[in-house]
Amino acid sequence: MSQDTKRLSLILLFAPFALWIVLLILLPHIGMVVLSLREKVAPRVYEFGFGNYVDFMNEPIYWNTLMRTGSMSLLVTVLALLIGFPVAYYIAKIAGKRSRGALFLMCLIPLWVSDLIRAFGWILLLRETGVVSSLLVWSGMTDEGIEFLYNDVTVVVGLVYTVILFMIVPLVSTLDGMGDDMIEAGYNLGGNSLTVLRRIIIPYAMPGIVAGCIVVFMLTSGSYLTPILLGGKNSSWFTEQIYDQFITRFNWESGAAFGILLLAFTSLVVWLGLRLSGQSLANTVART
């Protein structure tokens, strides 16, 4: 009896999770793989084959876009880490107990607003007739308005702003677990600030750093709105190519192949990152 109840409750608890994994993750991806392996030989005639992947290989513009997306995403990840770490350290270790909650909340506020609205906010600020440009003209520093939009710097800044929270949260939670006495012991045994940071604080926070970097990298390389709106038509983000194949060219087969390639590529980068930092995914998940 109690055995059965146990089993039943396990099934009931597990069911939504399994449904989610199977219906929303596994099935679409299997579908994508299948779709990407269909070659169009004539209108409405398909054949099994790797033609869509071969097309990708033969067209340097696709390659370049993927590499560009990958390297810009890495840059965004590094910037988010460099900016997020001090912020997280301040929140977890320096701020008083009471201001900590308020600071954390302030980091969350941008999430209240939808991606789209945030991107438009940037546009309002940065376009040629926008706030920043007008201010510069008004103060006499330039004669004509400056277009701050549609360049890589703006895209990177906008992306960092969008994803930095996902870096800060795991970092705060790991740094929070580190006792002050650990840092004091680091000094007491003769370390200077740099040694303590390099040999104690960063190794201790490593699981949080890795977790934050994975999330930020995946979010960035898969993001669509921010690069398109801030980078314009020439932002050359890989998700834009996928969108293009699916919607504009109505070439679902090649779009699916691109999707799979993006997934494979980002997974490879994450795997490399884990190998280089000597962390395992299980360890990272367990400690954050």
Binding site: A185, N188, L189, G190, R199, P203
Partner: protein, 369 residues
Amino acid sequence: MTDADTYDLECTGISKDFGSFRAVDDVSFRIPSGTFFSILGPSGCGKTTLMRMIAGFEDPTAGDVCIKGKSVLSVPPNKRNVKMVFQHLALFPMMDVYENIAYGLRCAGATKDEIASKVADVLERVALPDLARREIHQLSGGQKQRIAIARCMALNPDVLLLDEPLGALDLKLREAMKIELKLLQHQFDTTFVYITHDQSEALVMSDYVAVMNAGRFEQVGRPEELYHAPQTAFVAGFVGDSNRWTGRAVEVRSDGIKVETDAGLTVIAMAHGNEQVVEGQAVELFVRPEFISATKPGTPDSDLPADNSYTGTVDGVLFNGANSRVLVRGPAGDLIEADVVVTGGADDLREGDPVRLHWARAQSMCFAS
């Protein structure tokens, strides 16, 4: 040898204020080289604050800290040759035992070979030679303890500070570690400053003990001195067990004071402490249970101290092996604790038995309050 060489650590008049609250109040002491010095006090009396000032993590509001005769107030914590074993040890969990010990040596710029030989040497000395490559979470509580000490001792500190390092251990291990710590101190021949709120730890291990209360040092001395000749009522009450009564001095003579306790017992006592006891003054009286002899009435008591002698009835027997006690309901109706030997034979005192209590006037310590 100059004066400075003989004292590893010297504090003069150090105080620490947190806002309007004074955590450490004008504390002065000096510790001769190679001694085991304990600071004993109740929770919140400022022990950790005092130690953090010595280590350099807090700046004293007033006063000076000297190590080997040199003031270290302007020296940052990582340059002071004072190492600290933290209350929760603070071993680095992301490094193994070897790396934990090597950390300090690396900071000091030792070469690879030096580090290897020093780590092996210090692990040998704490009797854990095979643990170099263990991870921290694989160690037992006692092993962690010893690694934390080894990590400090590898750096040859002038003074080792220990902040209640046994607090997290279970009772059995604490007892074993007490003796072990004393032996380690002997072996390394370094000055240990040991913080505790457990008086038995302080008495067992230390060469000198400072009793601290509310930010001040009440008394500094050898464990026997604190026990037998306390200078203040606080020390008498905090160090060791005692029967404690409040009362009034009714007659003061050079060879003793007659005290009437609040319960109505009249006791002959000797004055202790710096403050003079005058007739009619309120006093506190302490008598240790082991100095009270409890006998059955009718036993010849010619060789027993006759200054204080009362009859009562046994209210209860607290059996604890060699430390057994009886609770005696005295003539004035208050309870008096006395140590007894429980042999298990027919002569043992039992609940309800009449009993005679005796103790000498020298064993009743009287303080003006």
